[in-house]
């Protein structure tokens, strides 16, 4: 299948701080890419550049064949994005918020209705549908953000910490959802939970201090540790390399 996301020597600096340095990778349809790295490694910054929220200092991002700088609206149409912290309009009810997203994503008629019903059911937010978002718990807020991202059934999903703040059962549900969607979509998720990588991702990337340090399957990542432990492998990669540089 075609490459859904192509990133070439992407860099971003904020003044003196180099948040992302020369990162390149591709994501194909059918892949779930786990984006790993310590806090402040540049994961969110990279995701913001893929979705067109931040402009890269140098390098290119192509989504579905469209350059994100030249054709931002096409990119935004084909991408579903859950930003860090799942921001939303707090004063709106969940239902009004999802209707607003459906409006702006140009979902109409019967597709609109079936998509709304489907998403509300799969994400399991039926019982808070008439509550205003600011009154929801962290877990529900995250799920509303997730519902917003998948509502238009996008080919490409970019989820910044989709399971953060969820309880173990909810985490399990979200992972199953991601696995179910994985077949025909290209998905990038960032996470701090390493077992998640093994559970849902077909590939893992580790970045630290803005640099790409590892790109391979979860199996290959585990093989980096003598004990066969993914946490250990992560520490090996992120601490060793930062000492070298």
């Amino acid at each position: 299948m075609s490459q859904a996301i192509k990133i070439k020597s992407l860099s971003k600096s904020f003044g003196q701080i180099h948040a992302v340095r020369d990162v390149s990778f591709d994501v194909n349809r059918g892949e779930v890419l786990g984006f790993l790295g310590p806090n402040g490694a540049g994961k969110s910054t990279t995701m913001k550049m893929i979705t067109g929220f931040l402009e890269p200092t140098s390098g290119t991002v192509e989504v579905d064949g469209h350059d994100v700088l030249e054709n931002p609206l096409s990119v935004k149409r084909s991408v579903g994005y859950l930003p860090e912290g799942a921001p939303a309009y707090g004063e709106m009810t969940v239902k009004n918020f999802l209707n607003f997203i459906a409006d702006i994503r140009e979902l109409k008629g019967s597709t609109r209705k079936t998509r709304l019903d489907e998403v509300i059911e799969t994400i399991n937010i039926q019982n808070v549908i008439d509550q205003s978002i600011e009154t929801l718990s962290k877990g529900y807020k995250r799920r509303v953000g997730l519902a917003q991202a998948i509502l238009h059934d996008p080919d490409i999903l970019i989820l910044d910490e989709p399971t953060d703040g969820l309880d173990p059962n909810q985490k399990h549900e979200v992972r199953n959802l991601i696995k179910k969607m994985a077949k025909e979509k290209a998905i990038i998720i960032s996470t701090h939970i390493l077992e998640e990588v093994d559970a849902v991702c077909s590939r893992a990337i580790i970045i630290s201090s803005g640099k790409l340090l590892f790109d391979g399957t979860p199996g290959e990542l585990i093989a980096k540790s003598e004990q066969g432990d993914i946490d250990h492998a992560f520490r090996n990669i992120t601490t060793l390399k930062s000492i070298e540089t």
């Binding site: 609206l73 935004k76 860090e84 921001p87 309009y89 607003f100 409006d103 702006i104 917003q148």
Partner: protein, 244 residues
């Protein structure tokens, strides 16, 4: 276009789900009443017109319009929802115009709700209702000018308080530039053309004819140009510092 309409709808309805709209409308109506009857000496003037009512609109707008506009973009920045908005398939221009139009429509509603004033003057005498209608339209256009300034300023900061204060100051300068005390400052040294230019920037200069019921095309062009300019700057600010 679709994006513009969706955002407009969302913004406009959001005024009415929080107490903001109701507080604003009540205060606006109360203040217009106070100004018209006490400061404007509506009864004492013994004239069947709404001049004492419209006379104070620039001063009311000076504080009340920044109170509406201060949250337009500051709030998006503060809550982080700007990241959501800017990654939805909608152009920045559409987003800026949609938010602006929603705020303007809200102002229009507050203005329409002053209709008891119109009923009162019609009950007491026989005013020229065409003049009153023209004044209403002029007042709404002027409110649009204040709003464009406020919207642009709110794009600069996360803080609604800063947004409010700076908007008030800039709006105040736009009102003051028609005052003799400001013009005197220029008259002593600057050529007449400069003095006229400064005076022509004043909301008051342009509102004076409007409140008499004369909608001069030059006044309309002035406000249209002013609104376009500030909204254009608004777009440029968002474009360049979405994520800051």
């Amino acid at each position: 276009m679709n994006g513009l309409l969706s955002i407009y709808k969302r913004e406009f309805t959001s005024y009415f789900v929080t107490p903001v709209a109701y507080v604003f409308i009540v205060i606006f109506l109360f203040m217009t009443g106070v100004f018209t009857f006490y400061l404007g000496a509506f009864y004492e003037s013994n004239q069947a017109d709404l001049e004492p009512f419209f006379r104070f609109h620039p001063w009311l707008y000076l504080f009340l319009i920044p109170a509406i506009s201060m949250r337009l973009w500051s709030d998006e920045r503060k809550s982080g929802s700007i990241e959501l908005l800017m990654t939805l398939p909608v152009s920045i221009t559409d987003a800026v115009v949609a938010k602006y139009l929603a705020a303007w429509s809200f102002t229009a509603i507050a203005l329409i709700l002053t209709f008891p004033m119109w009923i009162t003057v019609n009950y007491l005498g026989e005013p020229d209702n065409a003049v009153i209608l023209a004044s209403y339209i002029g007042s709404l256009i002027m409110a649009g000018g204040f709003l464009a300034i406020g919207s642009c300023i709110s794009a600069l900061t996360k803080s609604q308080v800063i947004s409010f204060v700076i908007s008030v100051v800039i709006c105040f300068m736009f009102i003051l530039s028609g005052f003799p005390m400001v013009l005197d400052l220029f008259e002593s040294w600057a050529p007449q053309a400069v003095v006229d230019a400064v005076a022509s920037f004043s909301f008051l200069t342009h509102f004076t004819s409007i409140k008499k019921g004369v909608i001069d095309i030059r006044d309309v062009i002035y406000f249209a140009a002013l609104i376009t300019f500030w909204l254009y700057v608004n777009v440029v600010i968002i474009e360049n510092k979405k994520a800051d």
